[in-house]
Each structure stands twice: as C-alpha cells, then as structure tokens.
C-alpha cells in the first residue's frame, strides 16, 4: 500500500510538471502568434456585444456615498503632463488652459477652465477599477461630455471621440497618451470631463486640469491631462491604430471587463 502511495505521488508530481511544461510551451508559442491572438481577440467582440446587450445605453454604474470614499486614492500611469505647453499652464495655474472640441463637428469649441465650470455640472461618487485589479472610490465633478458634443454639433459621420492628452507615458515619439470611446459611451450621463475630485480642484497626479470619467469601463480608458476632444469616423490613423495608448500595447479596446 505504501508503495502504491509513493508511486502515486511520484507519478502525480511528474504528471503535473509534465502537463505544466507542455501547456506553457504551447501557450507561450501561441501567445507570440499574431494569428492566434486575432482568434482570441474575437472573444473581445463577444464581451462588448454581450455587455451592450445587457447594459443598454443609459444604465448607470453604481454610485457610492461620502462614507465609502478611499482615504487615499492611488494615482497611476502618468503623474503629470509633460509637454512644454502643459508646463506653462501649470505655472499660471491653468489660466491659459483651453479645451478644444473639434474634428467632425459643426461648431468647434475652445473653452477655458472657468467657462467649463460655468456650464451645468454633474457630481458622482464612483468606483475606479484598475486593470491591475485594485479599486478606489472617489468623488468627481465635471461637465457631461454629451453636453459639449451637443453644443459643438456632431456631424453624422462621427463614430468615435478621441481624447488628446498632455502626458507622454511611453517616453519618446509615439508615447503620448490618447484614448478613444464610441458615441454610446460618449453621451452616457455619467461620462464627464472632471475638473474636481473629492470637492477640490483635480490634483495634478490625477490629471489636472481635466480628466475623463468613464464609469462603466476600466481606469486606463479614463484619459488624464485632456487637452482636446476630437470627433472622428475611425481611429485607425492614430498611434498603432488600436484606439489608445494601452490598446496599442495589447490591452482590450473595450474595457468594460
């Protein structure tokens, strides 16, 4: 009997090591194969299709209370803007900041921070989920993106909204942060360009003077240091053509999961 147990344990360990080795070698090969990645990517279209079906257009992300706020909200990614323009704006406390709204719109806009703050504001306490796995709860105040797009008048060809940012997270050329979302998310009531966090002006590590809140998706979609909003028909011409800084580095464009 003890012989059987020994044999069993040895077989089991050898078996586990063998299986793990085989699985890994195979999966590593497949992970490097771009055609297999494309097969796996089709599942992402299923993720988005299923969520859009379940969600509808206006279903709100859960909102929380003051008591739920994270005592310390972890900043991540870039901790400041990096362009010369941004550094100048930092010096004058964003008095010279202008948000541009352009692209496929009838009336391009250019708005100062005070002009943005004079527009109807929306406040929400929401949970921020990082793709890494952690969550933090914060309060945000800003202008609904839908309101700005309505004032600018979207042209019928417009399908996506691009956020042009002032932070170079990648370092060097091609490292500028950018993001894209579709119009369903752009006009969602909780989609705001926030200038305040927890009742204070948006801190620099969190994207001052203006950042996107996109509450039904992960943190990397929520561009910080937003300088320009552009309506486009396609995002194929931007970066590597996958629709965002992290998307160009392999992450999913639809980050609702």
């Amino acid at each position: 009997m003890s012989e059987l147990i020994r044999l069993t344990r040895r077989t089991a360990l050898l078996g586990a090591a063998g299986v793990s080795g085989l699985v890994l070698t195979g999966c590593d090969q497949l992970s490097r194969s771009s055609s297999f990645q494309r097969v796996l990517d089709t599942a992402q279209r299923l993720d988005m299709g299923a969520q859009r079906l379940l969600l509808g257009a206006d279903q709100l992300a859960p909102q929380y209370t003051q008591a739920d706020l994270s005592p310390w909200f972890k900043p991540n990614g870039s901790f400041t803007g990096t362009t010369d323009d941004y550094k100048r704006m930092l010096d004058d406390n964003f008095a010279s900041y202008r948000l541009t709204v352009g692209g496929l719109v009838r009336h391009p806009l250019s708005l100062s921070l005070d002009e943005l703050k004079a527009l109807p504001a929306r406040s929400q306490i929401t949970r921020h989920d990082c793709v890494e796995g952690w969550s933090a709860i914060g309060g945000w105040t800003g202008v609904q993106l839908g309101l700005l797009l309505k004032s600018a008048g979207l042209l019928p060809q417009a399908r996506y909204v691009v956020f042009h940012c002032a932070d170079n997270l990648g370092g060097g050329p091609g490292g500028m942060y950018y993001e894209t979302i579709d119009l369903t998310d752009a006009v969602h009531p909780q989609t705001i360009l926030a200038y305040a966090m927890n009742g204070q002006p948006l801190p620099v590590p969190h994207g001052a003077p203006l950042r996107l809140r996109l509450e039904r998706q992960l943190g990397y979609k929520m561009a910080k240091y937003v300088m320009g909003v552009e309506a486009v028909a396609s995002y194929a011409h931007l970066g590597s053509g996958r629709g965002g800084f992290w998307e160009d580095r392999g992450y999913q464009w639809y980050a609702g999961i």
Partner: protein
Amino acid sequence: MARKVTFHRHSPIVRMTHWINVVCIVVMLMSGFQIFNAHRALYWGLKGADADHHWLALPGGFPAWATIPSWQDLATGRTWHFAFAWIFLINGLVYLLFGLLSGHFWRDFRPTGAQLRGIGHTLWDHLRLKFPKGEEARHYNVLQKFAYIGIVVVLPFMLATGLTMSPGVDAAAPWLLDLFGGRQSARSLHFILAWSIIAFVAIHLIAVLAAGPINEIGSMITGRYAIEPEEETEA
C-alpha cells in the same frame, strides 16, 4: 479468478464536456495567476488598493511556470482568460442542461440513505486508498457524489465572482456586488474558489491514479468502465 465485466459508465456529453472543461480550467487557472501577478494583494469590501488593509499579500507572485504566458504580460493573460471564459460558459451550460434534463444529476449524484449512513466507513476506506469493487463500483460512492455536487456548485460561483469584477456587468447587475459584498470581496472569493478547484483536481487525480488510471481515464474517453469482481477472501 472471475473475469472483469465492463459496462457503459459515462455518456458522450459528459465525456466531451469533461475534457473541454479540463482545457478551460487549466488555461483559466494559469492565466488567472498571470492576472493576479499584476496586483498581488487581496481585500474585503467595495474597494482596495495599496493603502487599504489587505488580508493576503504575495509579494513574490506566482512563478513563471504557473502563468500564461510565462513572462509577465497582463494584457495577454487577460485575452486568454476571457476567451476561454466563453468556452467554459457554453460548455458548462451544455453540461448543466444535460445533467438536469437527462436525469443524470438526479440519478447519479443523489446519495442514498444507505450511503449516507455508511459515510464514515467510506471515508476510512478512501483514506486507505481502498476503493469499491464489484456491484458497488457500478455507482458513484457517497464521497464522489458530494465532490461532484460541490464542483458543479463551485464552478458557476467562479463565473459569477469573475463577472462581478467587470465594471460593465456591475452597471447591468449591481445585485452581484451586494451578493458578494463588493468588487474586492468578489476578487478575493474568486481567488479562494480557484484554490478550491485546485484542491478538487488534486484529490480527483489522486483518486483516479489510486483506483486504476487506465480504467478510470479510459472510461472518460470511451465510456466503458471495467469492474473487478469482488474478492471472495481477503487476507
């Protein structure tokens, strides 16, 4: 010595869904370890990040041989995890529907009164790796029944806790957050359930090896299971 008799043990649907599930669970565990390695702490409640109180931290993370891909790559790990989640979901639905509609669960998983009364004896036999022979081996024993019921319950909870981590699903079904006590609790439960699946697989494999791997694995491939006749005398 009497000849072995063989009989039909596993239906084609059970065999097919079993092996698809093996592939899904292996890939999802290993890509799951990859995802965990991107943030190596677990919390209870709605929120949780570096400054919050964690109940578990594994600063070393899981080793390269246990993750898909073997190098640190959250994006690729997520792609694998979510693609196989769809196969796991469809395969699981086929299995559950079959088990319920065909009567497989009711007929084969329901412990009999005699089995429940003899549970202590069965447990003692199993600990000595002594398995039923003869007529008794035609049916799942009481420990098998509980283990299979357990895994059939655990796997849907694995799916539900996984979905609760999705900000999109949370907007569509906020009751999931209430059920599991918040997103970070769901993440912790997902991790604990993953280890309960590993424990199930380990015990399952030991039992298969001890009970005769050729016959056991063969029956899950061909459906035919051989029964050894009961020994008349035992020394």
